[in-house]
């Protein structure tokens, strides 16, 4: 009798515990959004529109304009995507169409494993190994080659010390490459074999199969996968913080130092003392949240539940 009563109590208790856990996740996301907005409000209301357009970021005079990091975030992510996407796409095609059977699994697994390496490792590698080589063999020659007043001269300005906006983009690209490649490969493999086989049966070349059958078949989800990679690049912190050079002004060229929203938060938040400084950083965080949430929401809507982690 007692056991039965206990059971009758335990059932709803367990049920509510499960519901509460699910609600907790929802609250975490909602709380994140609301608290960042509240925390950033003093800075947003004080500086108004100039918070987004001004490049003055001065903790001494307590004046903050986030145009530098905001633009830095967008530029590095888009450039990273431009570099990573073709490589990832071709790699995924190679793995599903051309790769010798005995190499498919090992390479596929290697790509997936590399997607899990922590970003701080990429950051350290970028700073200590990649940047010196890049400065010596790419930046310096390119800057010497470009005429100062031509368009190339404008793009390739900066200090050839290896760190800067472009280096950050490359490191980001290397980071999201295995990630996008693994998701695209998974999508390509999800196509029913008979679709692919019937295209080959009609005499299509592999290029035509990929371009006219496979890509249209997964187009929607593939865009989702790419957006997921973009979302990752936008919010990535450690890999960027090591190599972007950390300056608050607008980068003048690809090799100039800059900052992203996440790198400026990582560098300054723990040391920020003035309430306005903290608020400005929280406001930037809120903006990053809005951007990534939009990108990730579109990505998830396109990709559907069940792909990519």
């Amino acid at each position: 009798m007692l056991a039965q009563a206990r059971g009758a109590l335990a059932e709803p208790f367990f049920r509510y515990a499960c519901g509460a856990a699910a609600t907790a996740l929802l609250c975490a996301m909602g709380g994140l959004c609301i608290l960042l907005a509240i925390g950033g409000w003093p800075a947003l209301s004080t500086f108004g529109l100039s918070f987004f357009t001004s490049t003055t970021w001065n903790p001494v005079t307590d004046v903050y304009g986030g145009a530098g990091p905001i633009l830095g975030t967008l530029i590095t992510s888009v450039v990273a995507l431009l570099i990573a996407l073709p490589l990832a796409f071709f790699t995924a095609v190679f793995l599903t169409e051309f790769c010798p059977q005995f190499l498919r699994r090992p390479i596929g697994i290697a790509v997936e494993l590399l997607a899990g390496i922590p970003s701080i490792v990429y950051g350290m590698w970028g700073l200590f190994v990649f940047a010196p080589v890049f400065a010596k063999y790419v930046e310096a020659p390119l800057m010497a080659w470009a005429a100062p007043d031509s368009i190339w001269g404008k793009i390739f300005t900066g200090i050839p010390n290896g760190s800067g906006v472009f280096t950050a983009s490359i490191i980001l690209a290397i980071m999201i490459l295995p990630y996008i490649a693994a998701t695209l490969r998974e999508l390509f493999l999800s196509i029913p074999p008979r679709v692919r086989e019937s295209a080959y049966g009609m005499g299509c070349t592999p290029l035509e199969v990929v371009w006219s059958v496979i890509v249209p078949y997964v187009r929607r989800s593939a865009i989702g996968a790419v957006m997921l990679g973009l979302g990752r690049a936008l919010g990535e912190t450690m890999a960027v913080t090591f190599v972007i050079g950390n300056s608050h002004r607008l980068p003048r060229g690809l090799f100039d130092s800059g900052a992203t929203i996440s790198s400026i938060i990582a560098n300054e938040f723990a040391e920020a003392t003035s309430p306005m400084h903290i608020s400005a950083l929280l406001a930037l965080g809120f903006l990053l949240f809005l951007i990534t949430f939009a990108v990730l929401a579109i990505a998830r809507a396109l990709l559907g539940h069940g792909h990519g982690t």
Partner: protein, 286 residues
């Protein structure tokens, strides 16, 4: 005749385009693999030199003195274990709710969607959030805040894994439980969770691998500590933040320790992910 050469030309063009495509795809794969191999190789080369017994037995040194990473390693292990305890509890319950209790209404759909977004939300924002809810009210960086931040990153992974694997369980299992007159919650605990254990453990391992290298959310939640501490309300030493500050320091012996730490983290993450793969393929076979 002209039709024939036309066909021939077109076929030639198609062959050429295709050959180029094959070459481009192969080259892209080679480039990607070579870059990633270079990264692993330099990590191994730079990390193995700093890796000796002292790394595991001595605490983080002041610059110039000999030392290791013992406090950071133990601190990270402590932080991750605490985070996983929270994340597995919340994740398993939330996943169970999504798979077993929710009726696929708008609320369940929202939770599922938000969980998917949380899976790839920028970890630094999680750090900011936890700073506002846990560090500011307590007026101190703390291990507790660090564990909370990591838990918030791990929980969505466990939730997703739990839901996915529960949905794979045959309906017959639930009916068998109901047929014996078992309360639903006992069916879930004793039958469904048992049958799904492999998948849930896989998800938990993946979550552990993910948070063991997370740096950004710890920067202003747990901060770092030069000494060994397990006090929940004080800053705690941890590997990622130690690597970050040592790598950016001008001291060579600190940088060497940072490389050794990076190698340790990468090695841990890679072995966990490999283990997960082996477990998964074994499960598929049986």
């Amino acid at each position: 005749m002209s039709g024939f050469t036309g066909i021939f030309d077109r076929r030639g063009r198609r062959r050429l385009a295709n050959a180029t495509f094959v070459i481009v795809c192969t080259l892209a794969t080679v480039v990607a693999l070579v870059v990633l191999a270079i990264i692993l190789a330099s990590l191994l080369r730079k990390g193995i030199g700093g890796l000796d017994l002292a790394v595991f037995t001595e605490d983080t040194p002041p610059p110039g003195a000999p030392g290791g990473l013992r406090n950071a390693l133990l601190g990270s292990l402590f932080l991750c274990s605490a985070a996983m305890t929270i994340a597995v509890t919340v994740g398993m319950l939330a996943g169970t709710w999504l798979a077993e209790y929710s009726t696929d209404n708008w609320y369940a759909k929202t939770v599922r969607f938000i969980n998917d977004v949380l899976l790839s939300a920028p970890s630094i924002l999680v750090g900011l959030f936890v700073y506002v809810i846990a560090v500011r009210p307590l007026h101190s960086f703390s291990a507790l805040a660090g564990a909370l931040a990591l838990a918030l990153i791990a929980a969505p992974i466990v939730t997703r894994a739990t839901e996915d694997v529960l949905r794979l369980q045959p309906r017959a299992l639930r009916e068998a439980g109901a047929g014996l007159g078992t309360p639903i919650w006992i069916t879930i605990r004793r039958i469904l969770w048992k049958a799904s254990a492999g998948g849930i453990i896989t998800g938990a391992l993946l979550a552990f691998a993910r948070i063991s290298g997370e740096t950004a959310p710890l920067l202003f939640t747990s901060l770092n500590n030069q000494f060994f501490s397990l006090n929940l309300l004080k800053p705690i030493a941890n590997l990622p933040v130690t690597i970050f500050s040592f790598a950016l320091s001008p001291y060579e012996d600190w940088q060497r320790l940072a490389w050794a730490g990076s190698l340790l983290i990468a090695f841990t993450v890679l072995s966990i992910n490999t283990l997960v793969r082996i477990l998964a393929s074994k499960r598929r076979r049986t």
